[in-house]
Amino acid sequence: MAWILNILEEGLLGGIKSVFYIALIVLPLMITMEIGRELNLLEKIAEFCKPLTRWMGTSKESAFPLAVGLVFGLAYGAGVIIQSAKEGNLDKKSLILVSTFLVCCHAVIEDTFILMAIGANGALLLTVRLIAALILTYILSKYLK
């Protein structure tokens, strides 16, 4: 019977330890992100995304959904995309291109830090994701013309 307890102990302790290491990163990160939200950093990131939208061939209005998806994830990004499309701020081509970009690359801050916590090379991870999403969206934008 003792060996069953040993396996359970190894599994539970190992799992708790992994979560603990991730918590050490996620807690300060979430506080920083909340401060960033308060300082309207999202607007600034959207401003930064504007050249990106030109390059992708999407409307200027797509910068905000792009920034939201990049920072907070696909579900939030999709929410803003649907909202913008309803308000008529987003044409069909922009909608498809922004969705394509975000499907490949979203929640980059949180995901990158969490994957770094378990030992991944964060800089490489982020670079590969961004470049792949950019290339794919660029190709699609030519094809959609």
């Binding site: 190992g14 799992g15 909340e34």
Partner: protein
């Protein structure tokens, strides 16, 4: 304005995320640890070895990709933590997972936006496979 309330809200978000993570990572870690003591993980490892070799990964890493894609990124992370992988292998599988994860849930999200499900799923799996192959060769 940044006040103590801002920090409190951030901490609350952080605690919620950690709880969400824990609910998935701890059971997955335990599950794979138990599998390690059975013949099952060895069999999975043997079956998937030829496929996973393309990405420079051991056969048992197939469990990470399956859990990450069917459940979510956190399940994949729990599985990575429970296996013994090198730094290079962790980076490769992290990139693959970041392109392709939580397929059932996230595909539902893209469907809501109005993008083709088949296109989304094949693009994501394709990106994961191509990035895995390339990273194995260059790092």
């Amino acid at each position: 304005m940044v006040t103590i309330e801002t920090v409190k809200r951030g901490a609350k978000n952080g605690i919620n995320t950690v709880l969400e993570l824990g609910k998935v990572i701890i059971p997955v870690y335990l599950f794979i640890t138990i599998l390690k003591y059975t013949v099952i993980l060895e069999l999975i490892s043997k079956w998937f070895q030829p496929l996973m070799k393309i990405f420079g990964l051991p056969g048992e890493a197939a469990v990470v990709l399956v859990l990450g894609n069917l459940l979510n990124l956190y399940a994949g992370i729990g599985a990575i933590a429970s296996l013994t992988l090198t730094a290079k292998q962790i980076t490769i599988i992290a990139v693959m997972l970041s392109f392709s994860h939580s397929l059932p849930v996230e595909t539902a999200v893209s469907k809501k936006v109005g993008v083709s499900v088949l296109a989304v799923v094949s693009t994501r799996i394709g990106l994961a496979a191509v990035s895995g192959i390339i990273l194995n060769l260059v790092i």
